[in-house]
């Protein structure tokens, strides 16, 4: 442990503080992990009189000069007298190796990105807009309680999806150019931070904001859904009670009806599956954000990144069709004709639908897809991710059960997507001229 009386120490913070020179006085010490903890009484115009503790990362030292950065990416230099001992410098600057140090660097960048994003106006605007959209779903009433509950869920999940996708894409599209514009990127990259660590840090920071926002929206939706459910059930009970009072049903039947209504309404109420559906939305946002990150490394402008990613988002929903057409066996004209007419005239098993079916006419089979069309389908299937697999929300909202194993499989596919698109982003950013 090295105690350093920083009397007379001069710290110059980087671009974020502009020309604010700060003088610090107080206690500094090397932490056991090699970072320098400093308690400063800052005398800068902006932070006058405030005291704060910062953890510094030392990346250059000489006999009486120290350069370091903080978790907030401030670049600071210090001319100190007396200078720290050589052993203290050695302890502070010793090379951190292993996964812990690697993870820590990324985490620091992620947390910085988190703070940066939360302070951005675009976040406040989008979040406020989401809450308005969220509230809109609860204001409107519909004919049946089932429809009202579905509307609440639709509004909640729609809000989560719109907010998550827009925020993920916009923030990734903004962050990289912004860091370059205000030169934070150069400051960070002069530190012992690799480019891919910077990218991962940024990505994790964005995901962290999205995760927290979705969590808040999910909790809000759960509370409102439960309240709506209680009101809807109360309404049903009152209706049954009025039927009982007017003698239209017996007491036993009324009790049975109450149980039945509760069982049926529960399908539209709060269930664990709804939270799993929120996880599916988060995974979808994670993938589209990774795609946006890959695009932003080659894009010349923020607008280009946003538009290109949103186009990919729509194409990704059509990827399943393109993939099926690519992987499906190529049928001849005659085979297509046979297949189309094979099912005609076959009655469905079980109960017969008693509607008059139109007169069967021989169908003209469509032309088999051209080579060019198959190539286009192939390109779409190979390049773009399949976003439709994440669209389980609709089924869950409609009352279908979603198993945890389905989410597990989705998680596996998302890991593959992230490896591909983050890998591509790392490659594209590795030697990019900044």
């Amino acid at each position: 442990m090295f105690n350093f009386d920083g009397d007379g120490v001069v710290l110059r913070f980087g671009e974020d503080h502009g020309d604010s020179w700060v003088t610090g006085a107080g206690k500094s010490c090397w932490s056991s992990r090699g970072a320098m903890m400093t308690t400063l009484s800052v005398n800068a115009p902006r932070d006058a009189g405030r005291e704060r503790t910062e953890e510094f990362w030392v990346h250059y030292q000489s006999r009486n000069r120290l350069e370091f950065s903080t978790g907030n990416c401030y670049h600071a230099s210090m001319s100190a007298s007396p200078s720290p001992s050589a052993s203290a410098f050695a302890a502070a600057t010793r090379q951190r190796t292993g996964m812990v140090a690697w993870g820590r660097r990324i985490w620091v960048l992620a947390m910085h990105t988190f703070t940066q994003l939360v302070r951005m106006k675009v976040f406040h605007f989008l979040f406020a807009l989401s809450l308005v959209l969220f509230a809109a779903g609860f204001i409107f009433s519909s004919v049946s309680p089932d429809a009202e509950l579905k509307m609440v869920k639709d509004a909640a999940f729609g809000t989560m999806l719109i907010f998550g996708v827009l925020f993920g894409v916009v923030s990734v599209a903004l962050l990289l150019p912004k860091d370059m514009e205000d030169r934070t990127l150069y400051t960070i990259l002069t530190k012992p931070v690799r480019r891919y660590e910077y990218l991962l840090g940024k990505y994790l920071g964005v995901l962290l904001v999205v995760f927290v926002s979705l969590l808040v929206l999910d909790v809000l939706a759960s509370i409102v859904l439960q309240l709506k459910f209680n009101w809807a059930y109360q309404d049903k009970v009152e209706t049954i009670q009025s039927m009982l009072d007017s003698g239209r049903v017996s007491v036993t039947a009324a009790e049975q009806m109450k149980v039945d209504e509760f069982a049926q309404l529960s399908q539209q109420g709060l269930r664990l599956d709804l939270h799993l559906a929120a996880v599916a939305i988060f995974l979808k946002i994670a993938v589209i954000t990774a795609v946006a990150l890959a695009i932003s490394t080659i894009a010349g402008s923020t607008i280009f990144t946003m538009l290109a990613t949103l186009c990919i988002y729509v194409i990704g929903h059509l990827q399943a069709g393109a993939r099926e057409s690519l992987l499906a066996p190529q049928l001849t004209h005659e085979q297509v004709h046979e297949r189309i007419n094979a099912g005609r005239g076959v009655k469905p098993k079980g109960w017969r639908i008693p509607m008059a079916l139109p007169e069967a006419k021989p169908l003209t089979p469509p032309e088999p897809p051209s080579v060019l069309l198959r190539l286009a389908s192939g390109a779409i299937a190979v390049i773009f991710p399949d976003f439709q697999v994440y669209d389980v929300v609709e089924a869950v909202v409609a009352g279908k059960d979603l198993k945890a194993s389905a989410i597990g499989k989705m998680l596996g596919l998302s890991a593959v997507y992230l490896a591909i698109y983050l890998g591509a982003a790392v490659f594209l950013f590795a030697e990019k001229e900044l």
């Binding site: 017996s250 190979v382 409609a398 279908k400």
Partner: protein, 268 residues
């Protein structure tokens, strides 16, 4: 080739080569989810003509459920108008049904709006051209029934579809339903009572539907002989089945079938 170009090429290769791993995974997951009915059905191309560009794009972008809810809200708005716009209600609900054909609720509401509300509106309010009221009632009743049958085709495992179609067929209002079809309704009620969701605890719907099936049979002269022992067995199964309609129908059947007095269940 510059280093930067090499890295760009590496990125492209990563995306292309990884497709070998990715595509089979995606296909397997898609077919698994389709089997579990978790994924939305393919969007009917005809629905495109009925929607705006934006709503269609949003539907294709994974927000089909939200868009369907918005259309339902729109339909409800037309329902609140005075007089209600039945044509627009039909159109909006048709889009909802096409967007989410596996959601029974939309078929249910669409059927109810046409076969019950619209048909009764023309029966009671006389909103049609004079003399065409009966025609309009029939038209909307048939439209509603047709919607209901289409809904059953998409959701054959849900008892509510069969029940609703049967309810329309045996609607006691003679101006809307001048020729109740008890034979068809009996089949529908029976089918409904066999559905898995009707048999789930507390199994109240299943019993009720089976009873409705027997009531319909009891009203068909040529199937009374078949209905009588079944309805009698149901009546004797417990006090909860001792209902006024059951008693009335049993008494009527015993008289029609000329059951000897000592053998009649209500004689005891």
């Amino acid at each position: 080739m510059s280093k930067h170009r090499r890295y760009q090429l590496a990125a492209l290769l990563l995306v292309l080569v990884s497709a070998l791993v990715r595509l089979p995974l995606e296909s397997a997951l898609t077919s698994d989810f389709r089997q579990q009915e978790l994924l939305p059905e393919k969007l009917d191309t005809s629905v495109r003509e009925k929607m705006t560009q934006q709503t269609f794009a949003a539907s294709a972008g994974g927000m089909r459920s939200l868009i369907a809810s918005a259309y339902e809200l729109d339909a409800f708005g037309y329902f609140l108008q005075d007089p209600p716009r039945w044509d627009m209600i039909d159109k909006q609900y048709a889009i909802c049904c096409q967007l989410q054909p596996r959601v029974w609720q939309y078929w249910d509401m669409h059927t109810w709006m046409l076969a019950v509300n619209a048909a009764n509106y023309y029966a009671t309010e006389g909103g049609a051209v004079r003399g065409a009221e009966g025609l309009m009632q029939q038209f909307y009743r048939d439209q509603g029934l047709s919607v209901c049958y289409r809904g059953i085709q998409h959701n054959p495992e849900k008892y509510r579809g069969y029940r609703q179609a049967a309810d329309i067929l045996v609607n006691p209002n003679p101006s809307v339903n001048p020729h109740p079809d008890f034979a068809e309704a009996a089949e529908l009620y029976l089918q409904a009572s066999k559905c898995a969701d009707a048999q789930r605890p507390p199994a109240y719907p299943s019993r009720m539907l089976y009873r409705a099936h027997l009531y319909c049979l009891a009203r068909l002269p040529h199937r009374m002989a078949e209905a009588y022992p079944k309805l009698r067995a149901l009546f004797e199964s417990g006090p909860q089945e001792d209902l006024p309609t059951t008693r009335t129908l049993l008494r009527k059947m015993e008289e029609t079938l000329r059951i000897p007095l000592p053998e009649r269940c209500l004689f005891k």
